[in-house]
Point group: C2
Chain length 401, copies 2
């Protein structure tokens, strides 16, 4: 697992070369075409080190040479640009009734996007891993045919995932203490690339941060609108997981001690009063039934049906209370609503914004915008691929093939 | 203002030298005694660069030479250790009825700790700044007598402080949109060191993170227990302020729509149901009256007074709900209770822990410990000094005197 630090350098200097490779790769991404001398001048690394780092990046086909400079005093220099076309990063999302897979190249270009149905609650973890492994093998076969090396795979799971990658609890799948990484690596028979597991909200937040309309926003919170509600918290440009990786569990924060009963046994949890169950006035629908009911809700809202509008307004207000907590405590620039909230956003957003204006202590709700995701239901899988690219950015480079 | 980033290097390489100075200073702090060659070998910086950086640090009296190495193959090398004794960092806290000042040296050793009374709500911002400037001048005079150069000053304020250092709102002082930095720099007549202003909870969190028993804990949240309740949020080793710097405003998160009325006009805010006003069953006491009433509460609790114990248990449960929100959303390793909560901790902590066990979704409350601050009422001022030292750590070195 990558542990993040915001110090000027890793505290123990253990992986200085990896850091420096990442620094050079970043510099080329942002300043290409550029020369080795440009890199040395800007980073403070000496020329011999830069040459060695660049040679390494060229060997790995992350960077390539592209002719000589023309407008330069002194000797012409060989210019460098980003390569990376021979690579792919894979993201998979396991949900209650489907599994999706996406693959992107180093620049984030979508290479494929597949979905297959799945009976999450009815299968054991090893059975589920066999299904995922089958899908991943099809993806890797396709990538091999395109002569792309797979940089890694991240699997999104709707549940608590520890910093060790173990799924502690995935309530809607009925999983507990499941070592998905281990089981999946076994099912894939040593795939030759890193396999990671992460919470779906965390990965969706990474997808927004790398690929969404708000990409690069330093302080961004993503709220999943699935059967459950979870948060992915990005502050100062990085996902913040907390000490054991269990951050973002906003779904069972209590909004009202007298509120509707929640599946967790408590009352008035955000998920119970502002989740999709509250919108559809039915907490126990299957995901397939949710999609049908959701379409009907949108249709009714469009026709101005009073009851539907009142329900959406109520859910919007409760969601606004949840957003206000986030805005008061974390002051993000943007809160992105995902999943089932997206089609409902036209009716939810005005209520959320009104609540935030009234409840956030900072003027103008602390500048916090609330928006609907533009990445659709595939955000978590896409975030899985984003996390693989993050690994490369932080210095974990592909092996030379 | 320092903006933090967790990328391997600053994105634009603008301040590479400052970063490298900080890297070398950190290395010496952690590995002293060490040689220039050690630094070069471990950081990847070339020897000429390291020599130039070390010369700079020696000129600034942050590092000094300390004889030759003995147990080394090859030529003996001059060893380096941290210096920094000729410096002082100053922190000031403005509170409703007092102003405190502390000064520490580069290693955090306390040099002085002063307090003077103050009538916060009765004075204008310029009048307050004159008081603060008077206190700061006494401190700087003392430091000058000890031949110490002042590295900087941070002023803690109980209110919303933007990333621009402007105090947007300080309700208990009656201040709005006050440019304390500007006013104070004017009152100090160009002091020759950087002056910063920050929220008191943020600075208290920095103090805990640098000087407290939980120093260095990557994920730590501090809760002020003053007339109001605020949070300072440290995640992955850095204070997280949010987009505009308004994070940590937990005091007016609503716990219960039917709860006690709050000074802000809403109902059931954390501050109203679990602040010191709820403990003392009187929201409008002056700070001096609070201290007297608090002593009486502690005395009654010690004697087992049933009513007092019931009130403390209720406040503990409500505070536990607030802590559970933090634990669910951010999964910190520790939540530190400060201010007036400290003497009440023996009665509050068991209730808080019970609530957290019941309300936090992650097993074992996500591993979150709740503890009383060991830094006392001076935490915010001490954090002001810590923030000055953070500036040095991040590459803003003292000018050569």
């Amino acid at each position: 697992m990558i542990t993040s630090t915001s110090d000027p350098q890793p505290a123990d200097f253990a992986d200085v070369r990896a850091t420096n490779l990442a620094v050079v790769l970043r510099f080329v991404r942002e300043h290409a075409p550029c020369s080795r001398a440009d890199i040395a001048a800007s980073t403070g690394l000496n020329k011999a080190t830069v040459s060695s780092l660049v040679a390494d990046l060229i060997d790995r086909r992350l960077v390539r040479e592209t002719g000589l400079t023309e407008n330069r005093v002194g000797r012409p220099a060989t210019m460098l640009v980003l390569d990376g076309s021979p690579y792919a990063a894979i993201g998979v999302e396991i949900n209650v009734d489907y599994v999706t897979a996406v693959a992107v190249d180093l620049s984030g270009e979508r290479l494929l996007s597949w979905r297959r149905s799945f009976q999450g609650p009815d299968v054991t973890v090893p059975q589920a891993m066999a299904v995922v492994a089958g899908l991943v093998r099809r993806v890797t076969t396709r990538m091999a045919r395109e002569e792309r090396q797979v940089l890694g795979l991240t699997v999104a799971v709707p549940g608590l995932v520890g910093t060790d990658g173990v799924v502690r609890v995935a309530p809607n799948l009925g999983w507990r203490d499941a070592d998905l990484c281990g089981d999946l690596a076994k099912a894939l028979r040593d795939p030759g690339f890193p396999v990671q597991v992460d919470n779906d909200a965390n990965l969706a937040a990474l997808a927004e941060h790398r690929f969404g309309p708000w990409a690069g926003t330093a302080d961004l919170v993503y709220l999943t609108g699935g059967i459950g509600v979870g948060a992915g918290v990005i502050l100062d440009g990085r996902l913040r997981r907390g000490g054991r990786g269990y951050g973002g569990e906003i779904g069972h924060i209590q909004l009202d001690p007298l509120g509707a009963e929640c599946r967790c046994g408590r009352r008035g949890c955000l998920e119970a009063v502002a989740g999709i169950g509250a919108v559809l006035e039915h907490a126990a629908l299957s995901p397939a039934e949710v999609e049908v009911a959701l379409e009907e809700t949108v249709r009714l809202a469009r026709t101005g049906d009073a009851h539907t509008l009142a329900v959406l307004a109520g859910v919007g207000r409760d969601l606004g209370r949840g957003v206000s907590m986030i805005a008061n405590l974390l002051n993000p620039e943007v809160v992105v609503l995902g999943g089932y909230y997206v089609p409902l956003a036209p009716w939810l957003l005005p209520e959320i914004e009104a609540e935030a204006r009234g409840r956030v202590i900072a003027p103008d709700a602390g500048g916090c915008r609330v928006v609907a995701s533009a990445l659709g239901y595939g955000a978590a899988a896409l975030g899985g691929a984003a996390r693989v690219l993050d690994l490369v950015d932080s210095g974990r480079l592909p092996r030379i093939s």
